[in-house]
Symmetry: C2
Subunit: 354 residues, 2 copies
């Protein structure tokens, strides 16, 4: 018997819109008590039971935010959820529901969309959020994903960007710059592949970097850690555009300054070695790399003892008065260099329409 | 002095993403008590105060859902909000907040996006909803708008699709088919214009139809009317894909049948005359036209006296047992014809990618 090696490709139009939605969401289960009604009516119905409700939304566009030549669809689905959950956690809140809307051209067969949804489902299961709605439509070009995340928190736990105080400590979770370097490694391999498709890349030494780029994890754990430590940050933001850009957001919105110490920036060994290989300055990469989806927050100095020694948290500086500005204090020479936001800016990126 | 007649065109990239968001949202005010925090942090924060929270989202794609050759951007912004509010009202709930994400190619100058947002703002003001967040990014082709609407309702007022009962009356708001005919009129004029750009169309006799297509209004008033009449529908849905398709949704999800009477279908005189002009069957247009954004709901027979004579509400039929099926009872001959869902299906529409 001959095996049919051709992968199955089902035309999406054969299912119709409602058929597609029910097909894609059939294996999603509802686990949140706050979900009264999920997919299948004009609206999802949520019940906040006296908690505050939080809402955030992000749009990911093929050719702008992701490149399917090295981003597997399952990873893309997972990452699209992470990007939004990260915004909820950056409010010191619990994420509980998401809606997912996709627009896709007819170059995507059903199996491709299933891959995308399998990543969304994995994210929902791992982070304990319910998919409660969305929209599915066609596009004239490419794939686009719009995710809205909903969360809940007690009023006195919600942490904004504009409430940092002078003398607060500036704390970052995890490490910085790896996602950006993962992107650089993948871009390089893509170019090598385009020149010689038989070249088999050995990416073992970049595993952590590539994982940070392709399968980032939102820091749900930090919200729990802070809760357990009885620390309520004075301000918080997630690092999507780079540490420098996000620190500037906190400072400008809180009307304070900051000093960030170069020698305190947490870097993974793979970041350091790959920066050397690519001839990149690791401090620049840590400050401006972006897409790390770590959390940046400020705490009162009196809370320092509670977080001291926690392996997830690094104190990288402190807040100053507004007039002192936002500065990097360099390693060794202790020079004060003004921070600049060189973060990734979607609107300055690739624009190929005419 | 010579006047500069060239319209101002500002490159969006010059503002940057955050600059663009704050520029576009500067004139939006927060009016809802339930809005704790709007635009400007990782999430908006809402407070439901013991009410249930409702969430719905829709994606509108250029070339699929709208055509900018006859859809002014301000109208498009307005309509994108209406499409979502309509879903909230279809749950018998109050809409209170929206988020708006847009992806746009660089063929759109800032002034075009401002036009779009002026329509969104008008909708927010008229319907008393707050813009609380969103995302703004570039696309490789065309314009895409993703709106998420959030609403609130008391638990015992929320009306689902799957709770219609046998013998309930089937009621529709407003009139049917006008939005579809408005689309036909605009398409015809576009073709005339393409042949002879000097031809000035006289669209006076189609004013209502065109307005229904370009500037639909969501039926917020119906939620209030029902509340004042002390009627809680047994089921409800909004008519985006056409009466026939939506009636089938209610029946299938509620496991009932229905009889809809052809001679009860509410038609505007412009619908009747334009159907004659275009040689279209007005019943087919009313059943399958779509985009009317009216509400379709069922009520217990005992509530009939409460709605009787209301100019916004028309009883068009009643629910039967599931085995009797979903039927149109024809005018004059009283024949029973099975309803079919010929509604607009985004996934079968234009697909020009390759």
């Amino acid at each position: 018997m001959l095996e049919d090696k051709a992968p199955q490709k089902t035309d999406i139009a054969s299912l119709g819109e409602f058929g597609l939605i029910s097909h894609l969401t059939q294996y999603f289960t509802i686990t949140q008590n706050s979900t009264v009604k999920g997919v299948g009516d004009d609206c999802a119905v949520l019940d906040a039971k006296g908690l505050k409700t939080l809402v955030t939304t992000d749009l990911l566009v093929e050719g702008i935010h992701f490149n399917l030549s090295y981003m597997p669809l399952k990873h893309l689905g997972y990452k699209a959820v992470m990007v939004n959950l990260s915004d909820v956690y950056a409010m010191n809140a619990e994420a509980s529901q998401i809606t997912v809307s996709i627009a896709l051209s007819n170059r995507f067969p059903l199996e491709a969309v299933e891959e995308l949804y399998s990543g969304i489902q994995l994210a929902c299961e791992k982070y304990n959020v319910d998919l409660v709605g969305g929209d599915t439509t066609s596009s004239t070009k490419g794939l686009l994903i719009s995710v809205t995340a909903i969360g809940h928190a007690e009023d006195d736990k919600i942490t904004y960007r504009n409430t940092a105080k002078e003398n607060d400590l500036l704390v970052v979770t995890g490490d910085l710059g790896a996602a950006y370097l993962g992107f650089q490694v993948l871009e390089r391999e893509k170019q090598v592949f385009e020149v010689d498709p038989n070249n088999q890349p050995d990416l073992d030494e970049y595993t952590y970097l590539i994982e940070r780029q392709l399968k980032p994890e939102a820091r749900k754990d930090i919200v729990k850690i802070l809760h357990d430590l009885e620390v309520v940050p004075t301000s918080m933001i997630d690092i999507s555009d780079g540490l420098s850009s996000e620190a500037i957001h906190i400072c400008q919105q809180s009307k304070v300054g900051c000093n960030i110490y170069e020698d305190k920036l947490p870097l993974d060994p793979q970041v350091i070695s790959t920066c050397e290989e690519f001839d990149l300055n690791s401090t620049t990469v840590a400050l401006n790399g972006g897409e790390d989806y770590e959390l940046l927050f400020t705490i009162a100095q009196s809370d320092f003892d509670k977080i001291k020694g926690n392996p997830h948290l690094t104190v990288i500086g402190h807040m100053t008065d507004e007039a002192s500005g936002m500065n990097l204090i360099t390693r060794g020479s202790n020079q004060s260099v003004p921070l600049t936001a060189q973060g990734w800016n979607a609107l300055l990126d690739q624009n190929t329409d005419s």
